[in-house]
Symmetry: C2
Subunit: 275 residues, 2 copies
């Protein structure tokens, strides 16, 4: 068998950082045991998934800057994505729902949805790899919700739940909010799992926000978004990820029902957030 | 972006069966809580990894039989392998070692080795994908311990431990055996993680055992091996996987130290088991 000789060290390390964060998120979620002691691990596990997303966007960026993008790098990247954005959020989801004791039927439903989430995530990643290899134009749109976006949706809910336990939200009815989060995470996970394997076009957020030349108002929008993110980071994360995950297909469906095709790729993000 | 149009249904379902078994193994391992109630889940989780291996060998076989092997199938296969043979055994490993309470230092060491195991598994899978794409001869040997073999090593230890708890091994000192298994799993996992990314040649077991024409004695060997497997299945699994995992590099090292290169691929498995 021929031998792979040289690889780019820094991008590979960043990609592996993604996998290590994903595995650490799984390990932390494993410490959630249904007692009050385990609740803060929801937040730790969620933030580790967000950190994995950071590594994931850095590795490709560094590889393209250094012109060391390779087949090995692409393969490794999607394998690590399967860990961090497939298994980790699904395992975290299983901890977010009701346990076996009060409601075995709901727990079984949750386990099935979590398995479906993993299946959809690996299908999405495999399909993307095959289509990206054929894509010479370098599209600025994905077909189907990207797996990091889907993982972010579940991670943001977990962070919110962990913060609830740490007393940052005193004065509200904890039990009710937690019950609401349980229902949201189960139904939401089902929706985003199916959106991952759909053909609905999603804008490539980092590409559209950070690259190329843009109107001045675009910069102001980004700065405002960062402010909101810092001020109330838990709710902001939930809003950002779920608007991206569910808002874009909702807009797509509305536009289609009005018998108008959505505008082509060039219109992009500005439009999404302005509506 | 161009669109992936047609895929082979049966092989894809088998590959997804692999991922679902892997995820179920993780979910079961998550129920191990250090109490006696959780101990049987070691065996369940271990058997689910073995079942994932079965799906993994079936999918490629069916795809080749039906001549539907494709790039999409290969990509999906390695993503599912990352779940079942990367994350699942590593997470199970974290449950097999000492908990936080008695020995935080050993637990940290274990967490590091588990993360290293995931990293080595994804590196092994990515390297294999790149090298297999360049390999037109269809080698009957792997470079480095294949990830299902490594996963089998850890799964067999977990099955043994689960069976200990279920009282099938009454009359022996449980505490001592369990302590021995803990040390074995930690040091063994480190060894097999490094062997995965090594260049040591490993025979392709299923290819060598099941395909082509072989001497009559070969069939008798296989039947005897199956008998041993059925008679004492826990120990037999441990022996088979660990002899494959550690015996082959040991033989390789001995042959090299005698300044004789190991025989070429055609000699294969018969030689390995005869020595």
């Amino acid at each position: 068998m021929p031998i792979l000789k040289k690889i780019a060290v820094l991008p590979t390390l960043l990609t592996l950082g993604n996998a290590v964060c994903g595995f650490a998120a799984i390990a932390c979620a494993g410490k959630i045991d249904g007692t009050e002691v385990g609740e803060p691990y929801f937040a730790v596990s969620g933030w580790l998934i967000i950190l994995a997303m950071l590594f994931d966007s850095l590795d490709g960026y560094v590889a393209r800057l250094a012109r060391t993008a390779s087949k090995f790098g692409a393969e490794l990247d999607s394998l690590c994505d399967a860990v961090s954005f497939g298994v980790a959020p699904a395992f975290l989801l299983m901890r977010m729902g009701p346990g076996w004791t009060p409601a075995p039927v709901f727990h079984q439903l949750l386990a099935c949805i979590a398995a479906l989430y993993v299946v959809c995530a690996v299908l999405r990643l495999a399909r993307f790899n095959v289509e990206a290899a054929l894509d010479t134009a370098g599209s600025r749109r994905f077909r189907g919700l990207p797996s990091p976006g889907a993982a972010g949706c579940l991670a943001s809910l977990a962070i919110l739940r962990g913060d609830l336990a740490m007393g940052r939200w005193s004065g509200i009815n904890l039990e009710m909010v937690r019950g609401g989060l349980e229902v949201w995470s189960i139904l939401g996970a089902l929706a985003i799992a199916l959106l991952m394997v759909s053909r609905i076009p999603y804008p490539h957020l980092t590409k559209q926000i950070l690259r190329g030349r843009r109107p001045f108002s675009h910069l102001i929008q980004v700065i405002l978004a960062v402010f909101v993110l810092v001020l109330a980071r838990e709710l902001a994360l939930v809003l950002i990820f779920w608007i991206y995950g569910l808002g874009i297909p909702a807009r797509y469906a509305i536009l289609r029902s009005l018998r108008r095709e959505p505008r082509p790729a060039a219109a992009g993000l500005d439009d999404v957030f302005r509506r």
